[in-house]
C-alpha cells in the first residue's frame, strides 16, 4: 500500500510518468548493440508502436555460475518503452541467468516507481525481450530450455503470428516501398 501511495505521488509530480521513468528516458543506460552477442531477443512490432531488441553476453562468476556479463538494448517506442528497456538492463547486469529469469513485470514497474496503466505492456515487452535473449543463448548452446522459458517463447511466437495476420496488408506495403526505394 505504501509503495502504491509512493507511486501515485511520483506520478503527481511529473504528470503521467514517475520521476524514475523520466530519469531513465532522459538518460537511458546500456544503449547500443553487442558485437557477436551470445543471445539476442527481438520483440514487439513497429506496426504496434513498440520494438525492443536486447543483446546479451554471458560469462561466469567466481563460483562458476553463468551470469549476464553485458547487456545492451535498442528500442523504438514511447517514453515507457525506453525507460523499461533501460531499467531491465540495470536490473540484470551481473546477475546469474537464473536470477535474470526471475525478473517479472511487477519488479520492473516497482523499480520505475510505477507506470500508467496503459503502459504496463511495456514492462511485459521488456521481460519478453530478456527471456527471448536467454532462450536464444540456450538454444545456440544446444542446451535444455526450462519449461517456463519455452512457454514464454511459444506465447511470443503466437502473438507475432497474430500481429502479422492483422497487419499483413501493411507488411506487404512496407516491403514494396522498401523495394521501390532500393530500385
Amino acid at each position: 500500500m505504501k509503495k502504491l501511495q509512493k507511486n501515485l505521488n511520483n506520478q503527481k509530480e511529473t504528470g503521467i510518468y514517475s520521476n524514475e521513468v523520466m530519469r531513465h528516458f532522459q538518460h537511458p543506460h546500456n544503449i547500443g548493440e553487442i558485437k557477436n552477442p551470445d543471445g539476442v531477443g527481438k520483440v514487439g512490432n513497429i506496426l504496434c508502436g513498440d520494438v525492443m531488441w536486447l543483446y546479451i553476453k554471458v560469462g561466469k562468476d567466481k563460483k562458476g555460475r553463468e551470469i549476464i556479463k553485458d547487456i545492451k538494448f535498442k528500442t523504438y517506442g514511447c517514453v515507457a518503452a525506453i525507460a523499461t528497456s533501460s531499467i531491465i538492463t540495470d536490473l540484470v547486469k551481473g546477475k546469474t541467468l537464473k536470477e535474470a529469469m526471475g525478473i517479472n513485470k511487477e519488479k520492473i514497474v516497482n523499480s520505475l516507481g510505477g507506470l500508467p496503466p496503459v503502459k504496463i505492456h511495456c514492462s511485459v515487452l521488456a521481460v519478453d525481450a530478456l527471456c527471448e535473449a536467454i532462450y536464444d543463448y540456450l538454444k545456440k548452446q544446444k542446451r535444455e530450455i526450462p519449461q517456463d522459458l519455452q512457454k514464454i517463447h511459444q506465447r511470443i511466437e503466437k502473438e507475432k503470428k497474430i500481429i502479422e495476420e492483422k497487419y499483413k496488408d501493411w507488411i506487404q506495403v512496407e516491403e514494396d516501398s522498401i523495394k521501390e526505394l532500393k530500385n
Binding site: Y17, K42, I46, G49, F73, Y76, V79, A81, W170
Partner: protein
C-alpha cells in the same frame, strides 16, 4: 541537451486550446457577479443578461453571414456536433436513414455516427486522398435516395487539410434541386477554421455549422451550431426551452459574451494574423524538412490551416519526441490532444493510406497569436537533435 530556454514555455498546441485574450476576459467580467441574471427571467436583471446573449448572437451570426435566429449556443463543439448528427437523424428518420461522413472527422462525429449506426442508421465513411482531401465526386456517388445528412469537417484538427466544402455543398445543392421530394442536409465542423479563415454559410452552402470559443482565444464552455432556417432538427437536451427549444440549459452568459468578443477580434485581425502565421508555418515546415532526414509533412502542403504543422519522423515514436520537447519547454501534441491517452495510432493518418508506423510517429505543432520567429528558430535548433538522439536508441 541543455535547456537554454529555461524561463519560457513555448506553447505550440493552439489547436488543442488557446489562452483567453485579455480583451475577451474584460468583456466577460461584468457578467459573473454584476450582470449575473438568468436570460429566462422577466425582471430587469434577467433582461440585462438576455440583451447580452442576443447581442452576442447577432455578432456571431453576422460574422458567418447568417440570421441571428439561425445561431444556437451550446456548451462545446462536441455538443454542437452531437446535436447536428443526432438531431438531424432523429428529425428526418422517416425520410431516410443514411448519413455520410469523412474518415478524418473529429472523434465526436465518428463516435456519434457509430452510435447512430447502433440505432439503425446507415453510415458511409468516404475515402480521402493522401493529403486527407475528400473528393466531391465521391460524395455525389455515395448519395442515395435514403441519404439525409452529409457531415464533413471544414479543416482537419490533426493534419490541417482544408476540405472543399463549397464544392461538396454545390453537389448536395444540385441533388436537392433535382429531387424536390428529398432533402439532404449538409453539416460542417468548423471548430478549427472559425476565426482563422473566412467563413460564410451562404458561400459554403451548408445547412449546419459548428464553431467553438476556446479555439479562438475565448473561454471554454461556449460554442455554436448554425442551423439554417427551415432545417428539421430534434433537440437532444430537453427542459426549459432555451435557444428556441433546441438546446435547453441555463445560458452561460459570460462564456457566450466572451465567445462573441473573441470572434469579433479574430475577424478583425484575420487577414494580418493568418498571413503572419502562414509565413511562420512555412519557415518551420521547410526548416524541419531540411534539417531532419526521413521526415514527412502530413496533410496538404497548400490547402492547410495557417497555423497547423503535422510531421511524421521515421524510426521514432511520437510520444517520445513530444515528451523530450516538453522537457525543453516546448508544448506540442502527438496527433491530436484527444487521442494522446490512447495507444492506437492516429486513425486520421491511417485513413490517408499510411502504414501504422508513420501514424505512430506523428507530431502536431500548432501556432498561435503569441508564436514568434524566435520560437520557430528555437524549435528548429532543438528538434533535429532530439530526433537524432532518439534514432540512436532505435533499432531501425
Amino acid at each position: 541537451m541543455k535547456n537554454s530556454n529555461k524561463n519560457k514555455i513555448i506553447y505550440l498546441d493552439y489547436a488543442a486550446t488557446t489562452p483567453v485574450d485579455p480583451r475577451v476576459l474584460r468583456a466577460m467580467l461584468p457578467y459573473f457577479s454584476e450582470k449575473f441574471g438568468n436570460t429566462m427571467s422577466l425582471h430587469s436583471v434577467g433582461r440585462q443578461a438576455r440583451l447580452a446573449l442576443e447581442k452576442s448572437r447577432e455578432k456571431i451570426a453576422s460574422i458567418i453571414g447568417a440570421e441571428s435566429k439561425e445561431v444556437i449556443f451550446t456548451g462545446s463543439a462536441t455538443e454542437s456536433n452531437n446535436l447536428a448528427l443526432k438531431g438531424i437523424a432523429f428529425a428526418n428518420k422517416n425520410r431516410g436513414r443514411h448519413i455520410i461522413i469523412s474518415p478524418i472527422e473529429h472523434p465526436c462525429i465518428i463516435e456519434s455516427a457509430k452510435w447512430l449506426e447502433k440505432q439503425g442508421f446507415k453510415i458511409t465513411k468516404l475515402k480521402v486522398d493522401k493529403y486527407g482531401l475528400v473528393d466531391p465526386r465521391d460524395v455525389e456517388k455515395s448519395i442515395t435516395k435514403d441519404t439525409i445528412l452529409v457531415s464533413i469537417i471544414h479543416a482537419s484538427n490533426e493534419i490541417g487539410t482544408i476540405e472543399p466544402i463549397e464544392e461538396i455543398g454545390r453537389v448536395i445543392e444540385k441533388f436537392n434541386l433535382k429531387n424536390p421530394n428529398s432533402k439532404i442536409y449538409f453539416h460542417t465542423d468548423a471548430a478549427q477554421t472559425f476565426g482563422k479563415i473566412p467563413i460564410n454559410v451562404q458561400k459554403l452552402k451548408v445547412d449546419l455549422l459548428t464553431a467553438s470559443s476556446h479555439k479562438i482565444y475565448g473561454p471554454k464552455g461556449a460554442a455554436i451550431l448554425y442551423i439554417k432556417e427551415g432545417t428539421k432538427i430534434e433537440p437532444i437536451l430537453h427542459g426549459g426551452e432555451q435557444e428556441m427549444g433546441i438546446r435547453s440549459s441555463t445560458i452561460n452568459v459570460p462564456a457566450i459574451v466572451g465567445f462573441a468578443r473573441a470572434a469579433e477580434i479574430c475577424q478583425k485581425e484575420m487577414d494580418r494574423e493568418s498571413k503572419r502565421l502562414s509565413k511562420l508555418r512555412d519557415i518551420l515546415i521547410d526548416g524541419i524538412l531540411k534539417s531532419v532526414p526521413n521526415s514527412f509533412l502530413n496533410g496538404h502542403p497548400q490547402k492547410r490551416l495557417p497555423n497547423n504543422i503535422n510531421f511524421s519522423f521515421d524510426f521514432v515514436e511520437g510520444e517520445s519526441i513530444a515528451i523530450q520537447l516538453d522537457l525543453l519547454g516546448i508544448c506540442v501534441s502527438t496527433g491530436s490532444a484527444c487521442s494522446s491517452a490512447k495507444l492506437e495510432p492516429s486513425y486520421v493518418l491511417l485513413a490517408l493510406g499510411f502504414a501504422p508506423q508513420r501514424a505512430h510517429s506523428s507530431l502536431r505543432l500548432s501556432l498561435g497569436r503569441k508564436t514568434t520567429r524566435k520560437d520557430i528558430d528555437y524549435v528548429l535548433k532543438i528538434l533535429p537533435e532530439i530526433i537524432k538522439n532518439l534514432r540512436k536508441i532505435s533499432p531501425f
